[in-house]
């Protein structure tokens, strides 16, 4: 039976101390007040949200030696899809920091204000991610979720151009204020998306297949092969 998409709102209390530490608040001299104002603004306006939908994989195939899955009318192709072998139930999702400050004019503020806002949006996204994990644990019993993300890792892992297919399966993301650009980038920039699943047979982590070994956000060591 086809299941409908679900929208979740995440409770979020932005952490002032970690924000101040991240933006090196003590060095900001005369701009400290601006940084605090932005914190207050983000705290009162940002509404992190999640859109998710339980999905069934109809077919597992190989297309030109690459693993592929078909879900409804959408076909995904890429090395990463090998992780879905023997998996039939997945959850498509988009989690976002919220678009409430996307149009906010920062031009009159300190030149670092866009980075301060990014830091706050990152915190808000963490709230959305937490909400997604909690919901999947409560509703579907997924205690250790794995996630495949279009565009994550090297280009042949799962090309970002297939993001549109994921959005199509979710039935549109306007409800949570997320847009896809022509280049398949998500706006707001602090948004994540993918297919979430549970499997005792794999420890898939997209980060492992990205060649950028010195990345400050690296979670696991680089692996040559999937």
């Amino acid at each position: 039976m086809k299941q409908e998409a679900i929208v979740l709102s995440a409770d979020c209390k932005l952490n002032l101390e970690s924000y101040q530490r991240a933006i090196r608040f003590d060095s900001l001299d005369d701009s400290q007040e601006q940084a605090l104002t932005l914190f207050e603004l983000a705290s009162s306006r940002l509404l992190p949200k999640v859109l998710l939908r339980p999905l069934i994989i109809d077919t597992h195939e190989e297309i030109g030696n690459l693993p592929s899955v078909v879900i409804g009318s959408v076909r995904f192709v890429g090395k990463a899809l090998a992780a879905l072998k023997d998996i039939h139930r997945i959850i498509g999702y988009v989690a976002t920091c919220g678009n409430e400050l996307e149009a906010y004019d920062l031009t009159e503020l300190d030149m670092l204000a866009p980075y301060w806002l990014d830091e706050l949006k990152t915190q808000a996204l963490a709230c959305a991610r937490k909400k997604l994990r909690e919901f999947c644990k409560e509703q579907y019993g997924i205690t250790k979720p794995l996630s495949l993300n279009p565009g994550s890792g090297n280009v042949d892992i799962w090309p970002i151009e297939q993001m549109g297919g994921l959005f199509e399966l979710l039935g549109g993301t306007q409800g949570i204020g997320v847009e896809l650009t022509e280049s398949s980038l998500m706006i707001p920039n602090k948004t994540i998306s993918g297919l979430l699943f549970a499997s005792p047979l794999t420890d898939y982590e997209s980060c492992a297949y990205c060649e950028r070994e010195q990345c400050p956000n690296r979670r696991v060591p680089f692996k040559e092969r999937l």
Binding site: R24, S27, N154, S183, R212, P216
Partner: protein, 210 residues
């Protein structure tokens, strides 16, 4: 006498207020804007760039240093403009298509302006044809492309091809975390820069030779 070493150190610590005061003092004492830039501000930015490369400092430290540099540049900009009445050259700058990261690009932009170059900043997620159009429109000598992701650095090759097929006499410089000299060679770009300071040196050299 304004201490250029102290200026460099204040900049590295992100002390914008102190940088501004020291730059103002140096100007009042008759030091040329170019000397203040070369011996104080750029020395500081170069050092912070090296520390960043060696993982001794991280992005926030680079940002507050850039902010301090900007504070100094606000004083120097009109003086540099007056000294370089003739434009030293034009650079078209942008983060390639598919990539929204702009910290590195903005640092490069700041350093380029510090060298007296005109910067046409196209922003992020820039398709190859926009680089080419802007280079032609502004008669640029160099296109500088930035990418943070291994997934998007391949877009740089499309920029190189677009420049070639447009028949433009403009050099292409590439940079960003995953980019290397070998990658530059493999896509046929003209220059690779490992950091913002080097990018500005290369761009100035290209413009002088053009």
């Amino acid at each position: 006498m304004a201490d250029m070493q102290a200026l460099s150190e204040f900049l590295q610590r992100g002390k914008a207020k102190e940088v501004k005061e020291l730059v103002q003092q140096a100007v009042s004492e008759g030091l040329s804007a170019e000397d203040i830039l070369d011996q104080g501000l750029l020395v500081g930015m170069n050092k912070i760039g090296v520390k960043f490369k060696n993982n001794e400092v991280f992005v926030p430290e680079v940002l507050i240093a850039a902010r301090a540099m900007n504070a100094g540049m606000e004083i120097l900009k009109p003086l540099l403009a007056a000294a370089n009445a003739q434009n030293r050259g034009t650079v078209v700058l942008g983060t390639v298509k598919g990539d929204l990261h702009d910290i590195g690009k903005n640092l490069v932009g700041m350093m380029l302006k510090g060298k007296g170059l005109t910067v046409i900043d196209l922003g992020t997620d820039v398709p190859p044809e926009r680089f080419v159009e802007a280079a032609a429109k502004h008669s640029a000598q160099i296109i500088a492309c930035s990418a943070l992701l291994t997934t998007t650095m391949k877009e740089m090759e499309k920029v190189v091809k677009a420049v070639k097929s447009a028949g433009l006499d403009v050099k292409v410089m590439v940079g960003g975390a995953p980019v290397t000299e070998a990658f530059k060679t493999s896509i046929g770009a003209d220059f690779y820069s490992p950091d913002a300071a080097t990018a500005s040196e290369i761009a100035l050299q290209v413009c002088r030779n053009a």
